[in-house]
Assembly symmetry: C2
Homo-oligomer: 239 residues x 2
Amino acid sequence: MSSSDFGNVRALTFDMFGTTFDWWTGMSDQIADLLSEKAVPVDAGELASRWREQFFVGLERVRTGQRDWANLDVIHAEGLVQVLHDLGLSEVPDNERQELVRAWHRLPAWADVPEGVERLRRRFTICALSNGGFAQITNLVKNAGLRFDCVLGADISRHYKPDIEIYRSAAELLDVAPEEVMMVAAHGWDLDGARAAGFRTAYVARPREYGPQRTGENPAHVHCDLFVRGFGELADALG
Amino acid sequence: MSSSDFGNVRALTFDMFGTTFDWWTGMSDQIADLLSEKAVPVDAGELASRWREQFFVGLERVRTGQRDWANLDVIHAEGLVQVLHDLGLSEVPDNERQELVRAWHRLPAWADVPEGVERLRRRFTICALSNGGFAQITNLVKNAGLRFDCVLGADISRHYKPDIEIYRSAAELLDVAPEEVMMVAAHGWDLDGARAAGFRTAYVARPREYGPQRTGENPAHVHCDLFVRGFGELADALG
């Protein structure tokens, strides 16, 4: 598919955790800092990875109606209880738990992101579209010094990706037809949801998403309109 | 009231039309450009002022439940029908009408705004909170090259200012208590709504809002925590 096939795309919506931000490195570093101060013995990367797994468990409970709507900060706080229990670290006090949840508001962007965002915003409306909350995503983007034109969190539509409603709500708020929006994500499940809503799809391979020791998502079976290895390559592909 | 009284303010919400943007000059210029091409004889400033009056009529109909929710682009389009009729300009064709409505997406900021915004965003989360739609405000801010941390339009809460719900929804999405937010506006009615929601209030005097020939809002009876003459003075006052 050539770039001319994307001539009617007017807005790009970006996934945040894993696609724009290197959550594993950012969380591992912050977990190690916070817990070493308290002399808690911990494999920070292992804690970060397990916590991310709990995020999916929590989301699924909301998506399937097993629990009422809760914002990602709440899902993270609940997931942390489970992970600390599983790792035998239940002694970590409330204060540190709150700081750990808050660490998800301050993460490093992948190296190709700042320049890619600047290039892409010259031509498109660029919008963060995340399962994080509006305040969380505002903080993430601000702390990293990135410049998105606007941000949307899951608390705007009260639906988590890949529910079709969150993508439809984004297109409506951006005042564009679904086919005029391209979802940019490092996860096939996110692109599947976006495609079901009528969006175009760009897959960004992030093989290090789960750290250097763990295998990232296998892109072999991902369906997408565009496959790239970073935001610079995305800007190239979109002309 | 000294700046120390605002020590717990974490976020600033900004009105757009009149406070951040000089809609009268921007609309007068665009109306003159668009209609002179079509050789329509028009007092562009008069049309802009009358159109703004219709905006309040349209909002009031939504706020009082006389009509269902409609976004500001729709309110603007309907108001234009009335204004063109009143001015004997009903011959203006649909294409030009659509372009005129769209002109509200591209307005000049007041001269003190760009630097003021940069100073204020170093210390606060700064958020646009407008009766415009999310897409419209995203366009306005992007076209003017301003950098807000996030934008909220009335279509997020489906309430127009000064309904208390739009301010409460903004505080909730920003994840701050109402008293941690300061509404920045050039209109007493907006600050009254914000205060009712528990916000702090900053009044920005914009005596030229309705152009050089018309009297702007009289600030004598406005209630506010802070009275300033521009965004630079606001940044000074907030330390």
